[in-house]
């Protein structure tokens, strides 16, 4: 029975934090900070404990019926706990960052309340044990991120929020219809019960394909697959921690994670392959990867550039899912984490530049490396990782994607990967050049758009340390990829479980 408490505790820690934050007055800065950090640390601890326990072969599950033949299931399996680990780790970083970022700004109570709620939903998504539970938290995520997107309350933010809702709510609806249709066909499917659909007769296959398409449509909006990605660049008006959360941890990842769940734990990779669904996924992912990179190339501002880069990068996960074979799966699962680490670093850096120096446009970055060397170092790490250079984790995703593509008999995917790498280099390297090699205001040329001295170091410590931590994580996760509990090793375990019955 104790196994039931851990998923609940992990979920409850941030839910309770959200409730308590809403109850605290706006002024209670210290109590709120304590609460935020306490909840984040507790959650991280609980998730770490579950990771350890799973390794020992323990079970962590809780469930109760919601209606006839349908249950609410929270279960920590290897795949889910991987995502949970990512979200709790990055939540801690983002919380720290957000505390520093929002210092002295209004509506902090609302922000942190929904922030916690958002993370609770992400955790729920990762621990969900069936599609129904997944959907619950998936929609909850939509709701809890809306106030964050429109946080600033400017007309632009409100318009972005409207676009965001249009996309995500319609998608949620399509997703729900698909899930209901699947439920009507075979009843409740727990994640991992792949044999249920596999055993259906061939006459059901057209129906299964239709449902799959509907589900992918629903998940694809959050995963920002082209042409369903329109909300993402617009949502960039949100504060930097929100962008980081949206891109690295929560929303985009939820969509990608859902696709992974769908293909691996509901349809099963064998059946998906048999139905020819994987080819479609690979095609969509390819288009998205290239389109995202090309659009990023044309951006004039930092955050939209990063947004389009996300569009492109998240499609790697989908690409990995679409490659039939354990290597492709490893790539998809590990990139889920790798992209999170790198992208959150980049967004933190973008936030730092904006907060400390008022830099939003790319051409204002000249010489910022001298003024903010540590931030720029973190940015460099993230950017090189995106390009796919070792030892940053991005390389390892690319490696498994490429080798997985060969294994799946689609060597042309390598060309896509290389093209994407080149495009990534084409828009990230000029940034790095500007940062480090162009003379800027600190060399006595021009001045920063809006410089503020936020702290003793190059910027406030709240902003700096999380940035450096995530950058260090993205390097360490690459250098130590062979160690137990590293993302790559864990992804390999999951993939092996998947392919070896």
């Amino acid at each position: 029975m104790t196994g039931a408490w851990f998923p609940l505790a992990a979920l409850g820690s941030s839910l309770l934090a959200a409730v308590l934050i809403f109850m605290l007055p706006e002024r209670a800065f210290r109590a709120r900070t304590l609460l935020n950090l306490g909840a984040a640390v507790i959650k991280l601890g609980v998730v770490a404990w579950m990771v350890w326990g799973l390794r020992q072969g323990r079970e962590y599950a809780v469930e109760f019926p919601v209606m006839e033949g349908m249950s609410f299931v929270l279960r920590a399996d290897a795949l889910g706990i991987m995502f949970a680990g990512l979200s709790s780790l990055l939540w801690l970083c983002t919380t720290l960052y957000a505390i520093g970022y929002l210092e002295d700004s209004p509506n902090r109570k609302r922000f942190f309340g929904f922030f916690s709620l958002c993370v609770a939903s992400t955790l729920g998504i990762s621990l969900a044990g069936n599609l129904f539970t997944f959907l619950i938290f998936y929609e909850l995520l939509t709701l809890s991120t809306y106030p964050l997107v429109v946080h600033r309350g400017t007309p632009k933010a409100l318009a972005a929020g409207a676009v965001y809702l249009r996309f995500t709510l319609s998608a949620g609806l399509v997703l729900m219809i698909g899930m209901v249709a699947l439920h009507g066909l075979v009843g409740d499917i727990r994640f991992g019960e792949r044999e249920i659909l596999a055993e259906l007769g061939a006459e059901r296959h057209p129906m299964l394909v239709t449902i799959f398409v509907a589900l992918i449509l629903g998940l694809g909006v959050k995963a920002a697959l082209v042409p369903l990605h329109g909300w993402l660049p617009r949502a960039m008006v949100a504060p930097a921690p929100v962008s980081a959360l949206l891109h690295a941890v929560a929303v985009v990842k939820a969509g990608a994670f859902g696709i992974v769940r769908l293909v691996h734990d509901v349809y099963g990779i064998e059946l998906s392959h048999q139905l020819g669904l994987l080819h479609g996924l690979v095609a969509i992912a390819t288009v998205t990867i290239l389109y995202g990179s090309l659009r990023a190339l044309a951006q004039q501002e930092l955050k939209p550039l990063l947004a389009f880069s996300t569009v492109s990068q998240v499609a790697y996960i989908v690409l990995g899912v679409g490659l039939f074979g354990p290597l492709g799966t490893i790539a998809a699962l590990s990139h889920l984490l790798h992209q999170g680490l790198m992208k959150i670093t980049l967004f933190f850096c973008a936030g730092n530049y904006a907060e400390e120096l008022g830099i939003h446009r790319i051409d204002d970055l000249d010489g910022a490396g001298r003024r903010m060397p540590l931030t720029s170092l973190a940015f460099t790490v993230g950017a090189l990782g995106m390009v796919g250079l070792p030892p940053v984790v991005g390389f390892f995703s690319k490696w498994y994607l490429g080798t997985g593509a060969v294994q799946a008999g689609m060597p042309w995917v390598i060309a896509v990967l290389v093209a994407s790498s080149l495009l990534n280099a084409a828009y990230f390297l000029p940034l790095l050049h500007r940062l480090w090699f162009r003379p800027g205001p600190d060399h006595g040329r021009g001045e920063w758009p809006g410089e503020r001295r936020l702290g003793r170091f190059e910027t406030s410590g709240w902003l700096l340390w999380p940035t450096l931590a995530t950058a260090a994580f993205s390097v360490l996760a690459g250098v130590l990829a062979g160690m137990p509990f590293s993302p790559l090793e864990w992804a390999t375990r999951v993939a092996i479980e998947e392919y070896l019955p």
């Binding site: 919601v66 006839e68 349908m70 609302r110 619950i136 909850l140 106030p147 219809i177 209901v180």
Partner: protein
């Protein structure tokens, strides 16, 4: 179908304890109402202390444990019939909870809105009467009792709506009065035809004897028209929004949550019992419901005032309920079972959420002092609790998880897909999107930061808490749905 409504072929008398509890549930509210009229409560606490829901809960457990009862009640020469099954017990519980919540809210509202005590005092007996009439509607198993209860409900509801006494309230109330009366006359006409044709009024007997035929159809068509008018179903809904526009929030809450649903309850009961095979008619009703969903949604989206949004939202949400007709009539048992559960869950979820929403809207209105949406700018900072309540209630209306609305929508969708009735899937989808559109339109105004600051009035926390409690109940009901639904399943209440 008669088993679904807890009707037995051979009614037996209630056990004495149950009879006593039922009488208490029926008679106590008006008495309490009269007492409260004389001594108006100054604090919500004594209102909440009324332990009627506890009695109903006991009834519910008894019903859940031993199955429903269907008993004759003789009143002179008249043979009336009451039944108590899981469904009616649950609805009774819901009614009493909402009534208590709204009464408690009304205490605070009167003080906050500075309503003269004399005008407000009338609210109490009317609330009591409304409670009793609603309870009767859930319990009644013959057309005569239903008629009486329906009329009592209508008059109480109209009178409550008139209490503010302003001109627009009076005009809207007058219209409501006329339509309510005419609606019941249409009902009576249908009853007349039924009585003339089959010679009886008890539902169990009618369902056993009535045969499909032109007379039955005409009778049911007349009944239905009257009930549709009272239930504010498109295109007969137009009286609803003005009425809510000027009514007190606690009254609106009760009305939007329960009063319109009572007519729907009767309508569904009659169709399922009298013409269970009438698919074409059911599709017409389903079509009306779909139109209501879209129409209500569109109007709510374009509405200028907060209360109008909520009122039109009621119009739209009621449309969902009408989808029960095509899904329950002439479909397979599995589909019907799903639709049955989905419908009642939707009804309960919407009742709770709509009550919460009216109260939250009332709080916002009281605090800002304006009814327009544009006046809401800045409330997200100053009135987070009321807005949060509004939002949680809206989650249920939008059918987003984990609310009751979501679970209900899931069930209805599943039923529609299973039955192959694709249009309703589309309606459910469009309705959800429209709901989201108008809800977030409201929120969009609240997030605006560059608005001139208003002086927001401080309201007692209790008013927000009551609404929040209701909204959270609606939210939690989605996950705890198995508890009521298990009782509602045909044969589910049997031991």
């Amino acid at each position: 179908m008669s088993a679904w409504f807890g009707l037995a072929a051979s009614p037996e008398a209630f056990p004495p304890a149950m009879m006593a509890a039922l009488s208490l549930a029926l008679l106590a509210p008006p008495l309490l109402g009269v007492v409260a009229m004389r001594f108006p409560p100054r604090h919500p606490a004594p209102v909440v202390a009324v332990a009627l829901p506890a009695i109903t809960l006991w009834l519910l457990t008894a019903v859940a444990a031993h199955g429903g009862h269907h008993a004759p009640v003789s009143l002179g020469a008249l043979d009336l019939q009451l039944r108590l099954d899981a469904l009616s017990a649950l609805l009774l519980l819901l009614t009493q909870l909402l009534m208590l919540a709204s009464a408690a809210y009304a205490v605070g509202h009167r003080q906050a809105a500075r309503i003269p005590r004399r005008a407000a005092a009338w609210l109490w007996p009317l609330l009591g009467g409304l409670t009793t009439s609603l309870a009767l509607i859930w319990l009644a198993a013959d057309l005569l009792t239903l008629y009486a209860a329906l009329e009592l409900m209508g008059l109480c509801a109209v009178a409550m709506m008139l209490l503010p006494g302003q001109a627009d309230a009076l005009a809207a109330g007058m219209r409501y009065l006329l339509f309510a009366l005419v609606g019941s006359l249409a009902w009576l006409l249908g009853v007349a035809l039924l009585l003339g044709a089959w010679g009886r009024l008890d539902l169990a007997g009618l369902s056993a004897t009535v045969e499909p035929g032109p007379v039955t159809w005409i009778a049911v068509a007349l009944l239905s028209a009257g009930l549709l008018l009272k239930a504010a179903i498109f295109p007969l809904h137009a009286w609803l929004a003005p009425v809510h526009g000027s009514a007190w929030p606690p009254v609106s809450a009760i009305h939007g949550a329960l009063v319109v649903k009572a007519s729907f309850f009767i309508l569904l009961q009659l169709w399922l019992l009298l013409i269970p095979g009438q698919v074409a008619g059911a599709w017409v009703l389903g079509g009306l419901g779909s139109a209501a969903v879209l129409w209500g949604g569109l109007l709510a989206w374009r509405a200028r005032g907060l209360k109008q949004v909520v009122a039109f939202s009621t119009v739209g949400q009621l449309g969902y309920l009408l989808l029960a007709f095509p899904l329950l009539i002439g479909t397979s048992e599995a589909v019907a079972a799903l639709a049955w559960q989905g419908t009642w869950l939707q009804l309960a979820g919407h009742a709770l959420a709509k009550a919460a929403m009216f109260m939250a809207a009332g709080n916002l209105l009281l605090a800002t002092g304006h009814g327009g949406l544009a006046e809401l700018a800045g409330t997200s900072r100053r009135l987070p609790l009321a807005l949060m309540t509004f939002g949680i209630a809206a989650v249920t209306l939008m059918g987003l998880p984990p609310s009751a609305g979501f679970t209900a929508k899931w069930l209805l969708l599943q039923a529609a897909l299973l039955a192959g009735q694709w249009p309703w899937v589309l309606v459910l989808a469009l309705g959800s999107l429209l709901t989201a559109a108008y809800v977030f339109r409201v929120f969009r105004y609240t997030f605006v930061e560059e608005a001139p600051r208003h002086d927001f009035r401080q309201l007692p926390v209790g008013m927000d808490l009551i609404a929040l409690l209701l909204a959270l109940t609606a939210l939690g009901l989605g996950l705890a749905a198995d508890w009521p639904l298990a009782m509602l399943r045909p044969g589910g209440g049997e031991p």
